[in-house]
Symmetry: D5
Subunit: 92 residues, 10 copies
């Protein structure tokens, strides 16, 4: 089941540099593990912003919430979730 | 070069059924040809709406405009274009 | 899988009364069949508006889209879909 | 009398962890007591957000305000209240 | 139980003058009967607009919906409902 | 001359409790004096919010500004002012 | 008593040219009479729009509503009213 | 050349009282000098807000920017600029 | 004096094809004459929309209004005007 | 390939003056180097705001993101990107 998710990151300015690096590194590892597992199907950077548009392919709403609320950057994200389904004109 | 494009369709109620069918059929053919050519990389239906989220992979802004303004449904679409680029955490 | 769906109805003024009655009657029958089947779990009227807030319990995004796009009033609805999941404080 | 209530939680980053845990625990207890009493009829988590959609069944506006303004997390909530009534198509 | 209700009127330009006069006359009679009965506690015109702000004092959400959806102008109104309760600083 | 005024209170979290109590007490006294004088004709709490809707009956715009800008909570309020006049359907 | 009023004109495309000319001529005469009387203190065109920003100097809210609702173009205007008062830094 | 400018002031709560007084005094002197010179043609307070609507009469966009960006309160202002021109119905 | 102007075109569907072609042809001629004269300094199409972003270089607000309100497509445009001035970092 | 980019600067009040000067100086140098290289084709100040509208001429979305995310002021900017293409009426 597919969902489009937009994430806008807003890291507080007073985050200690080490904490910031750690957060970003953990976010990357977390994302890449889910990409390898197939649930985080796509991730793209939005040009000019500290934001991404992602496609998730999960079994349920509950699983999507588990993934998103577990993001290391979750407290610093504005998240929009759009449920998707197959388009009748899609060839794949 | 990647772009996320959201299209919301608003067909006028007084469109003759034959014209409507023709428009939708031509839209589908147009989309599928571009999907086969690789420029229309993804198309998904948004659940509950007559709308789609698509990913285009084109050589230039000019080409994207040529594709979008050539859509048979173009006069009936609200379109939002978001330029994308590779995300540093993407594994592909 | 649960979804909150808000529907705002905007029937055109020039709809023939018979067509209008027919639409509303078919909408009701359609809704009640899905309520009896358990997929349309709740429907409430919003006070002062020709709108409802509903809860759907379906197996997939695809099924929710099938239900919503099949509504007899679909061409006259503004629809917002919000994916839900269990709340950790819920006792049921 | 039914009301839909959406609550978006925004806990300040500098809340002491113990205070935070205490607040969340008290919020849960408070909610569950009202759920058991039947006034807090439903609570669902919104996927991807620190937010809920709830249905309250109370005797009056005054009682709803008493409940909401008494929430331990009240100072950290954005709240939207939508009055509901029975829908003519509802089968229950 | 008190509610603030804002109504913005948008009468279609092609309404026949007789139908328009009839609608407005029936709206006035309807409003005045509810004012005399005490349920429509206040009604004020917003300066410069074809709009009003009203206060209703009713027994339930259901009754408020019955009143509002029964307004002769209902199909031509944009309505916003805000539930109210006693303010702790009020002297009356 | 009548005005509808909505006030949304946003007290900063780090306000000292004593200062907060003092502010709220002074706000109440200020409001009640104006209520007794007749200029602050109505005040209602909005359900679920730290907000009120009030009706002021004053001689001039200047007097209304004097009243509002003199509120002890003024620095912490978001205020919206809507000028009102008699409604032709009002019976009082 | 001063008010800033913004008016955005939206004349329907199918207005007969003679009716349109008549409306605009009557609007101008109406405005100029109020300008000469001093109640319509200023009127400026907004660059690039069929809109104006005006300053009214009237005795009451009721009088301002009488003026605005009497505008020949009233059915075709979007109007925003902002109550003003003397600024402490003004030298006049 | 005329411009309508709206300024909303948002002074930070932790501004030292002396600094605040000094800022406001300098703002007033700055404004009054430009009023005497004729470039700041009008300034009105918006009722209930720490905001003003002003009319500037300057030779160029560059001069208007010089004036606005030189305001002592500039870092604490939200500013909206609307270019104006003569209205065909104006009698002056 | 520079202004950024965004124009969104919304041609009514029932415009006769000949009238539409005539309008668009006159719009082009009008624009190109002003481009040759230097007042319409730039015009770009927004990708995916029937919209443009333009830069005008004119002597006054009055002249800009004369140009914009004289556009053959003016009745079908939504226009936003943003006054510009030299940027201190510009090298030209 | 052209893009319109709007940047709104919001420097935190507690930035040390030296750090602020350094940031602004580096921003200017960064911008001017890209202007000389031709990729930052235009930059204009928006009148009354700490904002600019710029035109970029770059080879790809990726290059635009590299430029924008490398801005010394990037953490303090709100950025909007609008892809552009040649307008059919442009004479250049």
């Amino acid at each position: 089941m597919l969902f489009a998710v937009r994430m806008d990151v807003d890291l507080p300015r007073d985050l200690a540099p080490a904490e910031r690096e750690d957060l970003v590194a953990r976010e990357r590892a977390y994302s890449q593990e889910l990409q390898r597992g197939g649930e985080w199907a796509h991730i793209w950077r939005i040009v000019g912003l500290y934001s991404n548009i992602s496609i998730f392919d999960v079994d349920s709403n509950a699983r999507l919430h588990e993934i998103l609320s577990g993001l290391p950057l979750f407290p610093f994200l504005r998240i929009e979730v759009t449920p998707l389904t197959a388009h009748p004109s899609a060839i794949r």
